[in-house]
């Protein structure tokens, strides 16, 4: 991990409230692994004070790194107002990363789709390319379309769903899992999205004895395991006495069974 000033190569509004930021940060991009995140200082000054964490969405071989974010509050509004060729201070790459396996299904919901492009691309770049399926969902067509072009270009089995039925299946990702994951295959699922979605996906995986990794979000002050602010309850199935895990250090990627789902 390191801290550096990165130049904004491109900043694009993909829809009303979703922005794709392309940064030139060669040394961080070179080290990044799928599932890791960067911590951005959204601007000078003390308000907002803390950095904001974002998953790495994509990297190219030329030192660029992309994140996609939704405009929610102060920090993301300030980020959305930045312009090309301005610089921004970033710390990264942070956290752990997804693990690959021979038969994989990536399930993303909303902005949780962001890290899955980097993951899919790196899996496709491996020597022995595993079986790979992708299920993506969002509130509506507008939101989902911010992500679909890059995934369609991968030429993989792609299943889409929206909450309002404006694109793909009208309903939840979990309803697409039986179609996408038929057969007795020993799947490994990698999931990122709203907490209830990941919890439902994890439940289905447990029923089928599929391995499942999830990407968690919490409030973060430091991102480098110094503040201990990013705790999530642990299942502690190994009886180590550890009540909490820390998202920035032990995660953001966790095996579903290590988490105490609430």
């Amino acid at each position: 991990m390191e801290q550096q000033n990165a130049t904004i190569s491109k900043i694009e509004r993909l829809c009303t409230d979703i922005v794709r930021l392309t940064l030139y940060a060669p040394s961080i991009a070179a080290k990044a692994k799928p599932g890791q995140f960067i911590n951005l200082k959204t601007g000078p000054g003390f308000d907002p004070l803390l950095r904001r964490p974002f998953s790495i969405h994509n990297i190219d071989g030329e030192g660029h790194l992309q994140v996609i974010f939704k405009i929610l509050g102060k920090g993301t509004s300030a980020l959305a107002d930045l312009r090309q060729s301005q610089t921004i201070n970033i710390v990264g790459p942070l956290g752990n990363h997804f693990q690959a396996s021979p038969s994989m299904c990536l399930i993303g919901g909303g902005l949780g789709i962001a890290p899955l492009l980097f993951l899919a691309r790196s899996i496709l770049g491996q020597q022995d390319v595993p079986t790979l399926k992708i299920i993506l969902a969002a509130r509506n067509k507008q939101e989902l379309s911010c992500f679909t072009p890059e995934f369609e270009a991968l030429d993989l089995p792609l299943y889409l769903a929206t909450d309002d039925g404006s694109l793909g299946h009208h309903g939840l990702v979990t309803e697409l899992m039986p179609t996408a994951l038929s057969g007795d295959t020993d799947w490994q699922v990698c999931s990122c999205g709203p907490h209830p979605m990941m919890s439902a996906v994890a439940t289905i995986c447990r029923q089928h004895k599929w391995r499942c990794q999830v990407s968690l979000e919490t409030m973060m002050a430091c991102g480098i395991s110094a503040c201990l602010g990013c705790a999530v309850p642990a299942s502690d199935h190994n009886n180590t006495g550890k009540q909490y895990l820390h998202v920035c250090q032990d995660g953001p990627i966790f095996w579903e069974g290590d988490i105490k789902w609430t």
Partner: protein
């Protein structure tokens, strides 16, 4: 013109530190977390995360929330406990040649005493900082630091057991912080550090509930700087022992203000989260300021706002 390198070294009791910039407990982990960003051996002193006799799991989440120019935390003093600190964390810090000050916390005077005794002979420990913002379980949970006689008693008990430089860290959640400072000076403290976080809260208008699971938390960051500075300024009139200023220090200019108010050294807290190189940049800025002001030693700044 011949510009000499200004002297940055200061004394905290018998402890001489190479420069007055320390890290605040709970904001710098056990040091190693920052190894990719700063040269740990160049930091005046690293004050590690508060250590208790037994490991503590900490509070349920959410533990932190950002507020205007600051943040609230209710970490709940999560720490690895004394034994694991000595076994797992100290060897690394010794290797780095860091000046290490151990921040300790307890539920009773006896616990503080046991901690002090067990840290006495640990190689590489340069000093103790007592966090007296903790509740005294035997006195109905009233914080040691909010009562003059309890603050005196815990300081005095630890003083009798340790030769290590003893810093007592004061809570700002009191009517007269100067009175507490006098009590711990009288109890044998070599130095007081102030301030710890100010208690506060935040409520979500969406869920209509407090945001922190613990309901209240400690406010830190630039938002508290004017309060901390005022407390340092006032305490400087009340005690003779050196004061370590803490609270919202983010830039070298902030550090200069605290020195001028009467602090001998300063601690950088929340700023480390925002800028992991903060301590190094502050040291650099201070040095340049001294050169520009043609000062030979940083000691000339301490309390200058009063002269």
């Amino acid at each position: 013109m011949d510009i000499k390198t200004p002297k940055l070294a200061v004394n905290i009791g018998d402890l001489c530190i190479a420069n007055p910039i320390m890290t605040a407990s709970g904001t710098f982990g056990y040091g190693r977390e920052y190894e990719n960003f700063v040269d740990l051996s160049q930091i005046g002193a690293i004050v590690v995360k508060g250590i208790s006799l037994q490991p503590r799991p900490g509070n349920p989440p959410p533990r932190i929330v950002e507020t205007a120019c600051g943040m609230l935390n209710a970490i709940g003093l999560e720490n690895v406990g004394l034994d694991r600190f000595i076994q797992d964390k100290m060897p690394y810090l010794r290797q780095q040649n860091c000046c290490v000050i151990v921040n300790v916390l307890g539920d009773s005077i006896e616990e503080y005493c046991q901690l002090a005794e067990q840290l006495n002979d640990v190689e590489g420990v340069s000093g103790l900082e007592l966090n007296i913002s903790c509740p005294n379980v035997k006195k109905g949970g009233v914080a040691f630091g909010t009562n003059e006689s309890m603050a005196h008693a815990v300081t005095n008990a630890v003083r009798k057991l340790t030769k290590l430089p003893l810093i007592v860290k004061l809570s700002p959640n009191v009517t007269d912080i100067g009175a507490i400072a006098c009590a711990v000076e009288e109890g044998g403290a070599d130095s007081v550090s102030l301030i710890n976080t100010l208690i506060g809260m935040a409520i979500s208008i969406k869920t209509r509930k407090p945001i922190l699971a613990n309901v209240i938390g400690g406010l830190s960051g630039p938002a508290i700087k004017p309060i901390a500075l005022r407390m340092v300024y006032q305490t400087a009139d009340r005690v003779k022992i050196p004061i370590i200023g803490i609270g919202g220090i983010s830039t070298w200019q902030d550090a200069v203000e605290f020195l001028l108010a009467g602090a001998t050294a300063i601690q950088v807290g929340t700023a480390n989260f925002v800028n992991p190189k903060a301590v190094e940049e502050i040291r650099q800025g201070l040095t340049e300021y001294l050169v520009e002001q043609k000062m030979e030693s940083i000691k000339e700044l301490t309390g200058a706002a009063k002269r």
